[in-house]
């Protein structure tokens, strides 16, 4: 029986810069008395999610969107300003020890115990969770083997490469066989080979009936791994669904990013009436984002239309339905910005 995750109206305002990557909206509070105005950071603003038992769920969004803070709240590390969160039936804030028993966490930045060797890190982690000596020894060896760390098992981790530290962090999170695994930007900084190994391991763990919640700003990863996704920006969920549902929600599916030598007033209106065009958004004054049912076949029509309007077409970029386009459609910004 798997374990799900639920949040209701989660909100978090940091009064001082948070230790993690969160860089949400900066607000200036009112000055009270003689004290200077306090900087407040609104990291998450009313996130309600239901993640089903046994699914791979992704939080996709740019840096500072509130992904890590959401994970922080769900893993007992960040106190929500308001709202509630549950892992299975357990309230995250009220029943911390029970919740911690159910979850495994892979942090965005490795936080390995530098005073221990790789194998000892796994053994002590197992001991914190009450595993018997024999069980933790066997499991540690199996995980070291799986993550290709057996040769380094008895070395201190201080000299490990980023990829090795990341692999060991994941092995550690799996050591006590948690029902829910949180992975915060799991493939950031990994080479392509290790990334594929990681994806395999995530899928394999999911096959065991576990729930996985991962954050990423890599669309390819979200698309390849996640059964459902929430797209997060400025602390809000702006879209939620399966990758295919989300991609299908982009008007037309194709996105043509156009640049003109100059913009004329009637050009936008004339673009809108072209066959297959679903939506036109002006961008940067001299460009337009055209959402349409077709891609390349529209270009000749657009080019002649631009020429007849006196606005020469200077650049075209066509992309097929993707989560990147979805993010752009909702926010007007690229995920990479």
């Amino acid at each position: 029986m798997g374990v799900g995750i639920r949040t209701q109206d989660l909100r978090k305002v940091f009064n001082s810069p948070p230790p993690t990557a969160a860089t949400g909206i900066v607000m200036r509070g009112d000055a009270k008395g003689s004290k200077a105005a306090k900087t407040q950071i609104l990291a998450i603003d009313g996130i309600s999610l239901e993640i089903y038992a046994g699914e791979i769920f992704g939080l996709l969004g740019p840096n500072g969107a509130g992904k890590s803070t959401t994970i922080g709240v769900l893993t007992t590390r960040v106190r929500p300003t308001s709202g509630q969160a549950w892992i299975g039936e357990h309230d995250v804030w009220q029943q911390q020890a029970e919740v911690k028993r159910l979850i495994g966490v892979v942090p965005q930045r490795p936080n390995l115990d530098f005073s221990l060797t790789a194998r000892e890190i796994l053994l002590f982690h197992g001991a914190y969770f009450g595993l018997g000596a024999k069980a933790r020894s066997e499991r540690a060896d199996a995980l070291l083997e799986k993550f290709k760390l057996t040769e380094r098992a008895h070395q201190m981790t201080r000299g490990f490469s980023g990829g090795m530290m990341q692999r060991l962090s994941i092995a550690r999170a799996m050591m006590h066989d948690p029902q829910v695994l949180f992975l915060d930007e799991p493939s950031a900084g990994l080479d392509p080979q290790t990334r594929i190994l990681l994806w395999e391991i995530i899928r394999e763990y999911h096959q065991l009936g576990k729930t996985l919640l991962l954050t990423t700003h890599n669309m390819e990863e979200a698309d390849a791994l996640c059964q459902r996704l929430a797209i997060v920006d400025h602390g809000h969920v702006i879209a939620l669904g399966t990758p295919n549902e989300l991609k299908a929600s982009i008007p037309g599916g194709f996105l043509l990013r156009l640049r003109f030598g100059k913009q004329t007033s009637d050009l936008m209106d004339r673009l809108k009436v072209l066959a297959g065009v679903r939506e036109v958004k002006a961008s940067d004054g001299i460009g337009a984002d055209v959402y349409a049912d077709r891609g390349g076949s529209l270009i000749p029509e657009i080019a002649s239309l631009a020429a007849s309007s006196g606005a020469e077409l200077s650049d075209v970029h066509i992309s097929e339905p993707s989560l990147e386009n979805l993010f752009l459609h909702h926010t007007g910004r690229s995920l990479r910005d």
Binding site: P18, P19, V78, D113, F124, Y128
Partner: protein, 256 residues
Amino acid sequence: MNWKAFGAMLARDAHVARRNALQLFFQTFLQPLLFVFIFGRVMVGSGYMPPQYKSLLLPGIIAISMTFTGIWAVAMPLIAEFQWTREIEDRLLAPISMNWIAIEKVIAGLLQAVVAGLVVLPLGWLVLRPGIDIRIGNPLMFAVVILLVGGFSACGGLALGCSMNQQHIGLMFSMVITPMIFFGCTYYPWSALQNFPILQKIVLVNPLVYASEGMRATLVPQFSHLPIAGVVAALTFFDVLLLIVGLRQFEKKAIS
């Protein structure tokens, strides 16, 4: 309460201490032994200090060693782990309440401080003999004092370690530890301050005063010292106070 997780964390700290045994040994014992040698042997041997200074000095040195060891053992790892390595995260995610994680740190520090005290005592005695008159008249009272001193040093380490930033470690030594040692009645008994009546009152806020005087009361009662009941009461007060402050600061650091 999850005793398995608590025990595993203590085992982890013991394992790390064993791994760093040599470093810990020099860090803990070199300074007090040099001190005892210079002040107890060289100064007394050359006639600059009276012979009974040997017996007066050693209890104070034990108190300093214990205090320093406990603060260091708890504060230093916490400062580093909270600030940049975030190593402590793994333990914060163990299925045990946060207060117990901090208390485990205190117990580990207390044990190290007690070991330091119990090793400096015979080592100091070896360096200073003959002519040192030290004996444990009341082992039970000695045990109580030594546990309370270990407790205040470890709780102090928790409070300091969770209140300081890494860049302030130097400041912690010059502003907190050094004045604490010199105004801690470590190299002289509290009664020696009678010519400085205001100072004599002010130093009573320094818990090290009670540690030194407690050691004197239980090891060299022939010298004047604060009444043992007062010492025990004051040490208990500082143990509890610093534990409460330390736990609060720990929570502030651990949860954002």
